[in-house]
Subunit: 336 residues, 2 copies
């Protein structure tokens, strides 16, 4: 690493995060289950197969329009399991609390986690609580881990997108990023932006029941849609072409981005997924998704190509094509 | 809760922690797997059975004599699985890093985790990294979660100690607590105290192979031996009687405790276990333990009784008996 210190950008989910992973963690931890860098590890298990994942949540502030750190921590881990085609079953939760957080706030977070877990049909089966002094943490951090059952025959993977696949996104992008930012900075938009944080277990189960042609799925969280598409293009060694005009984005998010100089392609989403689906199954998958509350505005935004493997190219409204890069550092630290 | 704010003592592993759990978390999260409050949740799994656990580590400082936060995070989670009789297999790790930590320090921690995982025969299969601003965390927090395979016929539980069982401890107590404290405060003892942090998977496998009469096991971490014995007495609705003179404690730890006014019964251990073993199997289990590097000074410190259920009573060197209470608040915050 050129830098000798860890910087905020190392937590962005973008290039610097990737560098940290490749230079510091992978040399020590590399193994067959970790190294594919999927959303969850797939493990052989006596008599069955197991998906296992973990994520830490440090979102600031801990309450924001449409959610809170508890709902985020449950949904994020549920979604990471669902993206592998696993059926999320059980969660663990580690709480790191700054001394002085009110018990009432912690209770609101616990209640929110419980509601999100019930909605996702998972149970929180283990946990731990640590308390640190004032200024040794920022109010509350939660690390959730999750286990899910992987039915036989599931081969969904970020490395499995194929030329000809259609690229589906389940709804509008950028809502979570703008919702958290507006709360943090005290910004008020004419139409308030609400986080999309939601568990996608049900939506994914419906999609899997409708089609065996879903090759890759991922939830575009840190780093946004742009970074997620680049990860899939890289892992699958395919090109991806998207059309800017087809990407669903709300008017409020679009104006907020213009005002703040942000690009919604890089904003975090917490209740959306991207799927690479065999061309022939696209309509069936889309209509299934649109019947689900979390997939109503699902649409096709592009296709997978043999050309320019590892690259994501976007055609804008004027027909001009440009390469969509991975997020280099951080647009918005502590977004999740 | 009488207090409206979260206090350091809520993270002690003692009475206040228990109160937080019972008043805030359990009302929202209660379910059959969580509510027994074991070291790991036991889950039914298609074709087999699964143990699942998570713990956050906030030890200060992150490097201490005999170990570091990385080794602690791996061993703590491996040991929580082993205490349930599970075979620990895979770990996940969530890193929360304060901006400005050096890459070299993070690499030392990763190398140490890798070595501890190799020693324990587990692989780190998933992970996540978040970075927060200066003063929003204290250098580095790690949350590990783990999954283990539970062989058929295993019924080890803190609720399963039986009158007549012998109480075995695997070695000296208090080493981790004093090692971390001495590093934190810059104390120097004539004989340096080294943390006992170690993975107990191998020791436990040997014990399980030697006897089917191991009824309960736990690693006495936060809250120490006193709190762990109280938890077992409570869960099993039995009494426990221990003899002070039989508790293994090093001379250095004993003098440090006298000097600092600490009680080694409440100091954290990170490479020790307590086991409740059927009387007839005690000698076989003990001799097995003493052949293992992490059980050389294992000994019997007491017995399980029908009398005074839920209470731990200690006879001191002068034959005087007193009740050993649960840790009320914190002797040493951020010990793990």
């Amino acid at each position: 690493m050129n830098d000798k210190l860890i910087l905020l950008g190392h937590g962005s989910g973008g290039l610097l995060s990737r560098e940290l992973l490749e230079r510091v963690f992978l040399p020590h931890f590399a193994n067959g289950a970790l190294s594919p860098l999927e959303d969850a590890a797939l493990l052989e298990w006596p008599g069955s197969s197991l998906a296992f994942t973990t994520d830490s949540y440090v979102v600031k502030p801990i309450f924001f329009p449409g959610g809170d750190i508890g709902r985020l921590a449950v949904c994020g881990t549920v979604n990471d399991l669902a993206m592998m085609g696993a059926r999320p079953l059980h969660l663990g939760a580690g709480f790191i609390i700054e001394e002085g957080l009110t018990v009432e706030e912690l209770e609101r977070v616990a209640a929110s986690m419980s509601a999100a877990a019930a909605e996702a049909g998972v149970t929180i089966v283990c946990g731990d609580t640590k308390v640190v002094e004032k200024h040794a943490a920022d109010r509350l951090f939660i690390t959730t881990s999750g286990v899910g059952y992987v039915p036989g025959g599931i081969t969904i993977s970020a490395a499995n997108a194929r030329p000809g696949d259609r690229v589906i996104v389940s709804g509008t992008v950028g809502d979570h990023g703008i919702a958290v930012l507006s709360q943090r900075q005290g910004l008020h938009f004419r139409t308030p932006v609400i986080s999309d944080v939601a568990p996608l277990k049900g939506l994914v189960q419906d999609m899997l029941a409708a089609s065996s042609g879903i090759h890759a799925m991922r939830d575009p969280t840190r780093g946004g849609l742009a970074t997620t598409l680049n990860e899939i293009a890289n892992s699958s060694r395919v090109g991806i072409e998207i059309e800017e005009g087809n990407i669903p984005v709300s008017g409020a998010v679009e104006s907020a981005c213009e005002m703040l100089g942000l690009d919604y392609l890089y904003l975090a989403n917490e209740g959306k997924l991207v799927a690479m689906v065999a061309d022939g199954d696209t309509e069936r998958v889309l209509s299934t998704m649109r019947r689900h509350a979390y997939g109503r505005s699902a649409g096709v935004i592009g296709r997978v190509t043999e050309e320019h493997p590892g690259r994501v190219v976007m055609k804008n409204r004027f027909g001009v094509r440009r390469v969509v890069q991975v997020l280099a550092s951080d647009q918005l630290p502590r977004i999740c």
